[in-house]
Amino acid sequence: MKASCIKAITRKDAVAAMRNKLIVLGLFAGVIFAVMYYVLPSTVEETFTVALYDGSSSQLFPPVSELEMEGIHIIFFTSGEEFEKAVEEGDYVAGIALPENFDSQLLSGKQPTITLYFKSDVPESVRTSIEYFIQLTIEYVALGEQPIDIETEMLGEDMAGKHIPLREQSLPFFLVFALMMEMWTISTLIVEESAFGTMRAVLVTPASPSDVIISKGIVGIGYSLIVVVSILILTQSVRGNLPVLFLGIFLGAIMAVSMGLFLGSLTKDILGSYIYVAVPMLILILPGMFIFVPDISLSIVKVIPTYYLANAFGQILNSGAGLVGVWKDFLIIAGFDTVFFVLGVYALRRRFS
């Protein structure tokens, strides 16, 4: 390896890439992603529809018309069967079930037990609001403070605190997408060297295949950083643990570069290379896309390397996670990086020799 050769090839690739209209367009992906980010809703749903079951036809519990307040819409059920079905199917963020002897317990000064059912992704703040709403209602009925027992049942995995506006949820997707786009930049730079026959000319100079591979990697990582940082700046999302965030970006960039090296070795045809890149790119951005279709089981996407990247970005940016929170993701990404890099370098060296 020669530093002067690496420097020369890197500089040449950077200039050549800047004159490739498609690659330059790729640099503007950051702007496009930022626009998409601002189009997405920035707040969570604020009106909740709640199911209320009163099996004892309570005379004391106020009618629905008196109970409804800003942010809470109540649907009254008289059939326990229908109530359970509706709550289980997730049509309502919460279900409120009054006990059968609600009136008598309340009149005798006993502590009635009201059961609340919540969908798993209901934010903690909403749960607290609904519990507070019940408490207020009972105080209203009892004309004063009345101890009640509230039982809470979660329907599915507890997602408290994880309710994040779609805009913020989409950020990991945009970052992964931007990083994986660099696969295409790298593969284009390599395929062009073959298509234009310039690789032969370079390899009869002091430059070695390793110099070429390292230079392409540097250009790829540089371009990844430009696009990703522009997304973070334009979306005003430079937050969280920045060293950990940039470590994640770096690991993602290495993954894209390694894949680009491998894919670039598969063909000498520039147009053909676009197809070779398109398929893996679509697969690799899939984990980020799953935030838009949350009902699909995440276990399917866990086999895709970028799942761990998207997950780590989400944790860092939206939950304030540090290295402790994402080290497992980083370790898995680093493992994939190693495999892809070895594969890419091996394929490319075979191609060049």
């Binding site: 002067s4 020369a8 310039t198 000319a201 430059a207």
Partner: protein, 290 residues
């Protein structure tokens, strides 16, 4: 014509390379001395490019060995690359870079600080120095490639069809540069289809056919040994012109020539040298430009 001092700059012994079952280069042995221009001639698929690829370290010989400047082509290709210049047949420049950027890139690869302007002037390229290569004609691109091969002031030049696609004036300029480099003691391995060019530039010529060197000598010796000198007579007839070629070594030729002269209708008469093309055909039964 040869200005050698006996130092072998290129040497091969039983150099062999196959692509699968196809034997591209079949145990060839030859040497080129310092300051010599070796013309390497053969039809397409004869093994010329494979030989050049082995000598320039792009392919590792499967049998035999080759040395350039004393370095083994298989073991020390990077030491060879420091001191050679290669001009490829196919156009392999960076199309989106300018002429200057293309050449400076290669200057940087060699870690040199070279003023490219004098080189550009030698091939009349100064006018296009800031033009992108993709906007240049094939002939201009060929000139850029030739300049690129000389950017590191190489001891050995491997030139594959260096004048293809050039106008006669540019081609002559490049041929003159090749001869100037030879005078400076540079060794040139010249691959070409152009027989006139090979004849004019080469100290010796190697004919390669089906992977084997079938003849290796000076152009004069090859023509004398294997060619046929002729007397070409062009006569006026009622229908136009008629041509007759008489072999000079044939004992019947003087008699026939006298007969033709007596008819007094001769338009032109001249002797004709054998060409390398004819020599190659005699040796292999094939045309060079097949």
């Amino acid at each position: 014509m040869m200005t050698t001092d006996g130092e072998k700059i290129i040497e091969t012994e039983n150099l062999t390379y196959s692509y699968g079952d196809t034997l591209a280069v079949d145990h060839i042995s030859f040497s080129v001395e310092k300051g010599e221009i070796l013309g390497f001639l053969g039809p397409n698929g004869a093994g010329k490019t494979t030989t050049v690829k082995m000598l320039t370290g792009q392919l590792v010989p499967q049998e035999g060995w080759g040395k350039v400047l004393g370095f083994d082509v298989a073991q020390e290709p990077k030491k060879i690359h420091e001191k050679i210049g290669v001009c490829f047949e196919e156009k392999n420049l960076y199309p989106r870079l300018t002429v200057k950027e293309n050449l400076e890139f290669f200057v940087n690869l060699f870690g040199l600080e070279v003023d490219i302007d004098p080189l550009l002037k030698r091939v009349d390229l100064s006018k296009w120095v800031n033009d992108r290569v993709e906007t240049l004609s094939k002939g201009l691109q060929q000139r850029v490639m030739f300049v690129r091969s000389m950017i590191n002031d190489p001891d050995v030049l491997f030139l594959d069809e260096p004048t293809v696609g050039l106008d006669p004036i540019s081609a002559d300029a490049i041929r003159n540069i090749i001869l100037t480099e030879k005078k400076k003691g540079k060794t040139v391995f010249l691959t070409t289809h152009n027989m006139m060019e090979a004849d004019k530039l080469s100290d010796r010529v190697a004919f390669i056919n089906e992977g084997k060197i079938v003849a290796l000598d000076t152009p004069e010796n090859l023509k004398l040994k294997l060619g046929k000198r002729t007397l070409k007579v062009k006569m006026r007839t009622e229908k136009g012109f008629e041509e007759e070629t008489l072999p000079l070594r044939d004992p019947e030729t003087p008699k026939r020539a006298k007969e033709l002269l007596e008819k007094r209708n001769i338009a032109t008469i001249h002797t004709q040298e054998a060409t390398l093309e004819e020599v190659f055909m005699k040796l292999t039964g094939r045309k060079l430009e097949q």
